[in-house]
Symmetry: C2
Subunit: 169 residues, 2 copies
């Protein structure tokens, strides 16, 4: 826990106007902390860009799910993405209103609403994906291509290993 340096005196020369202050090593030593902090940065920057188009992360997640797995009932999206059914209804509403997805009653089970992505939706997703990669380039700037791959594969393994699905995001 950094047993080195608690120098009781806080009286620096005071001639320094405003250095870039450093974070406590005790925190920086924790991957937990770095993960959380860097993750939040990444998330925040992506959310920022999406917000410019009036979109949220969930919108992208839903589009991605539809693009990757084809048309699905809302309940499937709910289970896959782990968000509240009620919230998904709202997201789907927006996306449908904007023409990015289509909703239709499932003829086999008319309780279900089958959601499918439109061409406009696919086009949008492609753009969002590009934005996400742009953010990635910003955030991972200090790493070269090889290191990024290592990071990606480590993160992927960590992700798959995380037991509880953990609601949200």
């Amino acid at each position: 826990m950094a047993s080195e340096n608690p120098p009781p005196a806080s009286e620096l020369p005071a001639s320094e106007p405003e250095r870039a202050p450093e974070l406590p090593p005790t925190l920086l030593d924790l991957s937990t902390y770095l993960l959380s902090r860097v993750g939040k940065t990444a998330r925040g920057r992506l959310a920022e860009r999406l917000a410019e188009r009036g979109l949220r992360l969930w919108d992208m997640a839903v589009l991605a799910s539809l693009a990757d797995f084809g048309p699905q009932a809302q309940r499937d999206l709910v289970r896959r993405l782990g968000l509240d059914p009620s919230d998904l209804a709202k997201v789907a509403d927006q996306l449908a209103a904007a023409g990015y997805v289509e909703r239709a009653r499932d003829r086999a089970d008319r309780r279900r609403v089958s959601v499918s992505i439109t061409d406009a939706g696919r086009a949008l997703l492609a753009e969002l994906d590009a934005q996400a990669r742009a953010v990635q380039d910003e955030v991972l700037a200090p790493l070269d291509a090889g290191e990024r791959e290592v990071l990606q594969s480590l993160l992927l393994r960590v992700h798959r290993g995380s037991g509880e699905p953990r609601r949200g995001l």
Copy 2:
């Protein structure tokens, strides 16, 4: 972006009761996404444990800063940790009330309130640090020691490279 499989039919055999649903590859391919998701998990689990003691992440951050850099004025903590002065006042209040830090007017500049960590505070921080490492062990379970070091150093470089201090956390 996973140009493979949008099979128009959503009619699976229906004999499957409830498989573990997979996340869209389009998302999983993004380090941005993994970083954000894994980071959130880590943060959430640590916050959970701290909450059991009525503490927040900021409390730990403040204690860490005091332990690592010695007594500081609140303004220094504010700059270092990047949180709102007003919010720090509240955090410091709690910590002082619980006896983990002490506040005293700086004799040189009596506007300043110099905050220092107490022995109880150090003991607490040690416990919190242990908790954080326990969470880390959970989260990084899929990785061996060597891989964890690699991850740590990659994250550290990413962190140091992130330009704007980015308020929060």
